[in-house]
Amino acid sequence: AQSVTQPDIHITVSEGASLELRCNYSYGATPYLFWYVQSPGQGLQLLLKYFSGDTLVQGIKGFEAEFKRSQSSFNLRKPSVHWSDAAEYFCAVGAWDSGAGSYQLTFGKGTKLSVIP
C-alpha cells in the first residue's frame, strides 16, 4: 500500500521569504500526487496535482511542485510567501489499492505553516 511522509510538522517563515514544504511517498509505480491547503476551520482546497508529463507543475496562489522520481518526492514551493498563506498543507498520493480493489487517496499528516509579518 502507498504511504506519504511530510517530515515537517510545523514551519515558520517570514513574509516575503521563500518556502519549500517536503513530501515523500512510497509506492511501487508512478503515483498521482496532490497538494491540498486547509485554512483554519475550512475544508481542503486543491493547490496542484501531478499525473504525468512535465515534472514541474504550477498551481494556484503562486505555488509550484516538482516531482522527483529518483527521490520519491513531490515538494511544494513558493518564491515569496504572503501572510495569507498561513494554513496547513497536505500532500496526498492517489493510487490503485489492490487490497481495497479501488482507487484510494492517502494523505500525509500535514505541515502547518506560520508566517511572520
Partner: protein, 116 residues
C-alpha cells in the same frame, strides 16, 4: 454549483446518542468519501462509495455506517456515539472513469463533532 455541502457544521452529542451527518454533491461525481481529521493525524478514510448502491470500508470504519441511495447523497451514521469519535468529519467527492481513473477530490467544509 454548490459543490460538496455538509450539515450540520457543529454538533455536540452525549455518549450513546446517535446522529447522521449529511453530505450532498451536485457535480454528478460517482465517487464519494467520508474522512475524519484528528489533530496531527492527517485524514483517515472511514467509508467510501464508487456509485449509488455501492459502499465499502476505509481505514477506520468501526462505529460508523453509510448508505448511498442516490448519486448526490452520502450520509454517515453514528449509532452509539463515543468520545473517541470526537473529530472533524469531511465529505469529499470525485469523478473516476476508465479513461480518467484518478482525479482530484473535492471537499466539503466539514462537521465538527464533540462527544461528551
Amino acid at each position: 454549483n454548490a459543490g460538496v455541502t455538509q450539515t450540520p457544521k457543529f454538533r455536540i452529542l452525549k455518549i450513546g446518542q446517535s446522529m447522521t451527518l449529511q453530505c450532498t454533491q451536485d457535480m454528478n461525481h460517482n465517487y464519494m468519501y467520508w474522512y475524519r481529521q484528528d489533530p496531527g493525524m492527517g485524514l483517515k478514510l472511514i467509508y467510501y462509495s464508487v456509485g449509488a448502491g455501492i459502499t465499502d470500508k476505509g481505514e477506520v470504519p468501526n462505529g460508523y455506517n453509510v448508505s448511498r441511495s442516490t448519486t448526490e447523497d452520502f450520509p454517515l451514521r453514528l449509532e452509539l456515539a463515543a468520545p473517541s469519535q470526537t473529530s472533524v468529519y469531511f465529505c469529499a467527492s470525485s469523478y473516476s472513469s476508465f479513461g480518467a481513473p484518478y482525479n482530484e477530490q473535492f471537499f466539503g467544509p466539514g462537521t465538527r463533532l464533540t462527544v461528551l
